[in-house]
C-alpha cells in the first residue's frame, strides 16, 4: 500500500481509533492508524510490553472486548488494509486539494519525520487528566491519577507505598482499586463532589447497569481494604518540604469552597490526583472544526450522527466529542469508520442491524456521560485553596498572584493573561493549566469561562513539540498555511523565540 492511497487516516489507537480503523477496513477502506503509544489500546487498554510478564490479575477491564478487536485489527494488518504506525506523534493535520496531509514525528528517542496523505481523517486522540492547582501540587510524589494508572498498567510499577487518591469522578475508584491490587496501601480516597449520581439512579444512570456494577465492585474493594472514601472533601495542600509527605484534606461545600475547622492530615508518599478529563482537541481546532461547551463546561467538538465534524472529511470519536469512556468511544469509532467508508462509496462497514444497535448504544452511553458530568462538575471553589505563590502553570512557573496581577493590569480574558503573564506558554502549551487559568481569569472578572477562552488555550498550531530538524524537513506545508502566522499572533513566543535560537 502506498501512502497516497490511504482512504482514512486514524489518529489514536485507543477504543475509538481501533474501532474506527477496523470498521472502515471491514468496508474495504485502506486505513493508516497513527498512535503516540508503543502498543495499541490507548489509555484505557494500556498494557505492558510482553517482556515484562503478565499483569496483576484484575488490572484490566473489558479485556475480552479488546482482544476480539485486536484480532480483527491484526487480520487487517496482515491483509495490508491497515497500516499501523505506533510511536508516531502527529503534530499537524492540514487539508489540501486531495484530502489531508498528516505530519508526525516517529519515535520519542530519535524522532524521524513522517508524512502521509489521506482522503479523510478520523481524530480519536482521547483525553488526559484535568487538574486544578493547590499548594504543593508540584512536589515530587504528586502525580496525575491517570499517570499512576499508566505506571501500573504500562510498566507494572506501583508509584509508591502509601497513596492518597483525590479529585473527582468514578475514575478515582478504578485507580484506587488498581493501586490496592499492586500492593500499595491506599490511605484514603477523597472525592470533592457530594452528588450521589449512582445512589439516586436517575434514568440515564439506571440504563447503564454495567457501570453501576463496576462502581459497586470498586466500592466493595475499598471497603474490604478499609479505605476511607470521603465525599465532599478535597486535598487542599500537599505538604513537603522536599517531596509529598502528607496531604491536608478539608471539607468543601457544593462550590468546593473550604468549610473551615475540619482539616485532616493523611501521611502518604504518593498523591494521585485528577479532576475529570480534558479531551485532546488541538488537531480538530487547527482544522477549524466547530466546538461547543458540554454540560460540565469542557470544550468538545461538534459531530453529527455519522461522527462528522463541521469540516468535510474530518471525523471525531471518543473523548474529543465529550468525555464518555471506552464503551462510548467504541460505538462512536465504529459509526465514524462506517460513515467515512460510506462517503467514499464503500458501504458495509456495519450491517444495518449492527449500525442501529450501535447508534442506540451511543445514545444510552451519552446520556450516562451527561449524568456523570453533571454529578462531577469542577466549580470555582478550588480558588479558595490556592495561595498567592501557588504555581498555576507548572511549565513557566507562573503563580496565582501573577495571574491576578495580569488581570489587574487589564487582561480581560485567558488569552490576554497568557500574553502578559505567560501561563500556558511552556512545554505543555497550556494543556495542564488551561482550564484553571481560564476559570481563574473569568472569576476574577466576575464572569464565567467562555468557549473562546478554552479555544484560545487549546489551540496549538503544532499539536506536539517538534524537533527543529523534523520541522525543517517538513517545513513547506507549514509556510503555506496561515498557521505559522497564527503561531506568532497567538502569543506563540515559545515557537518564535526558540526558532530564533536555532543555528
Amino acid at each position: 500500500m502506498t501512502l497516497s492511497e490511504i482512504d482514512l487516516a486514524v489518529i489514536g489507537a485507543g477504543p475509538a481509533g481501533l474501532s474506527g480503523a477496523v470498521t472502515a477496513a471491514d468496508a474495504g477502506c485502506r486505513v493508516a492508524l497513527l498512535d503516540l503509544g508503543a502498543r495499541p489500546g490507548g489509555q484505557y487498554w494500556r498494557h505492558a510490553d510482553p517482556a515484562l510478564g503478565p499483569p496483576v490479575p484484575g488490572m484490566h477491564h473489558g479485556w475480552r472486548t479488546f482482544t476480539a478487536l485486536l484480532d480483527r485489527f491484526d487480520a487487517h494488518r496482515r491483509a495490508g488494509s491497515i497500516d499501523y504506525r505506533p510511536e508516531h506523534a502527529v503534530w499537524q493535520v492540514q487539508s489540501d486539494p486531495h484530502g489531508f496531509v498528516v505530519r508526525a514525528t516517529a519515535g520519542e528517542r530519535d524522532p524521524e519525520p513522517f508524512t502521509l496523505g489521506a482522503r479523510s481523517v478520523l481524530v480519536a486522540t482521547g483525553a488526559y487528566d484535568r487538574q486544578v492547582p493547590f499548594p504543593g501540587w508540584t512536589l515530587p510524589g504528586v502525580m496525575a491519577v491517570g499517570g499512576a494508572q499508566t505506571l501500573l498498567k504500562g510498566s507494572h510499577v506501583a508509584p509508591g507505598r502509601r497513596a492518597v487518591v483525590a479529585g473527582t469522578g468514578p475514575f478515582l475508584l478504578s485507580v484506587a482499586d488498581g493501586l490496592l491490587r499492586a500492593g500499595t496501601r491506599v490511605v484514603a480516597v477523597i472525592e470533592a463532589s457530594r452528588a450521589r449520581a449512582y445512589a439516586r439512579k436517575p434514568p440515564a444512570v439506571a440504563a447503564v447497569p454495567e457501570k453501576l456494577a463496576e462502581a459497586t465492585r470498586y466500592a466493595a474493594s475499598l471497603a474490604r481494604h478499609r479505605v476511607p472514601y470521603l465525599t465532599g472533601h478535597a486535598v487542599v495542600r500537599a505538604d513537603g518540604p522536599d517531596r509529598v509527605r502528607s496531604v491536608t484534606v478539608e471539607a468543601v461545600d457544593r462550590s468546593w469552597a473550604v468549610r473551615p475547622g475540619r482539616a485532616r492530615r493523611f501521611e502518604c508518599d504518593t498523591l494521585a490526583v485528577g479532576y475529570g478529563f480534558v479531551g485532546q482537541l488541538e488537531l480538530l481546532l487547527e482544522l477549524g472544526c466547530s466546538t461547543r461547551l458540554d454540560g460540565g463546561g469542557s470544550l468538545v467538538v461538534e459531530t453529527d450522527a455519522g461522527q462528522r465534524t463541521s469540516v468535510a472529511g474530518v471525523y471525531a470519536a471518543g473523548e474529543p466529542t465529550g468525555v464518555g469512556g471506552a464503551d462510548l468511544a467504541l460505538a462512536e469509532g465504529a459509526l465514524a469508520g462506517d460513515a467515512a467508508a460510506a462517503s467514499l462509496g464503500r458501504g458495509g462497514g456495519l450491517d444495518p442491524a449492527e449500525a442501529g444497535r450501535t447508534r442506540r448504544r451511543r445514545r444510552r452511553l451519552r446520556a450516562f456521560a451527561r449524568a456523570l458530568a453533571t454529578a462531577h462538575p469542577v466549580p470555582d471553589g478550588w480558588q479558595s485553596w490556592v495561595d498567592p505563590d501557588t504555581q498555576i502553570c507548572r511549565c513557566e512557573e507562573v503563580t496565582v498572584a501573577e495571574v491576578r496581577a495580569a488581570v489587574a493590569l487589564g487582561a480581560r480574558d485567558a488569552r490576554a493573561v497568557k500574553l502578559l503573564a505567560r501561563p500556558g506558554m511552556g512545554w505543555c502549551q497550556g494543556r495542564i493549566c488551561g482550564p484553571a487559568v481560564a476559570a481563574l481569569t473569568a472569576s476574577l472578572g466576575g464572569g464565567t469561562v467562555s468557549p473562546d477562552d478554552l479555544r484560545d488555550f487549546s489551540r496549538r498550531s503544532l499539536a506536539q513539540p517538534v524537533p527543529l530538524g523534523v520541522l525543517a524537513a517538513q517545513g513547506p506545508g507549514l509556510e503555506e498555511s496561515n498557521m505559522s502566522h497564527r503561531t506568532v499572533a497567538d502569543g506563540g513566543a515559545i515557537n518564535s523565540e526558540r526558532r530564533g535560537k536555532a543555528p
Partner: protein, 94 residues
C-alpha cells in the same frame, strides 16, 4: 521473571527491565525527581505520566531531552538528570 539490563543515571548504575519506560525504571529505584525547574530550581519528576506535561524530561546519551514516561530504556543508556535535561538548554524542540 523479566529480563533486565543496566543503565546509568548520572553515572550511577540502575537496573532497567526490558520493555519498561525510563520513568518506570527511575521510579523503581526510588527516584521521584530528575529535573529542576529553571525559575525556582525546584525538583520535578513524573506528573501526567502519558506524555502531556513534559515534567519528566531527561537526556539520554547526551541527546536532546525526551519524555521519560514515553521513552523505553535500552541497555547501556546513559541518563542525565538536571541540568542536562533542562528543557530550555540545547536543541529545543519548537
Amino acid at each position: 521473571m523479566s529480563e533486565s539490563f543496566e543503565i546509568t543515571v548520572d553515572g550511577r548504575p540502575v537496573q532497567c527491565r526490558a520493555g519498561e519506560t525510563i520513568a518506570a525504571a527511575l521510579m523503581q529505584t526510588g527516584l521521584d525527581a530528575w529535573r529542576t525547574t529553571r525559575r525556582a530550581g525546584t525538583p520535578r519528576g513524573l506528573f501526567c505520566g502519558i506524555g502531556i506535561c513534559f515534567d519528566c524530561l531527561v537526556s539520554i546519551n547526551g541527546a536532546r531531552p525526551v519524555r521519560a514516561c514515553l521513552a523505553t530504556g535500552r541497555a547501556g543508556d546513559r541518563i542525565a538528570t538536571a541540568p542536562g535535561a533542562d528543557p530550555h538548554g540545547g536543541d529545543d524542540p519548537v
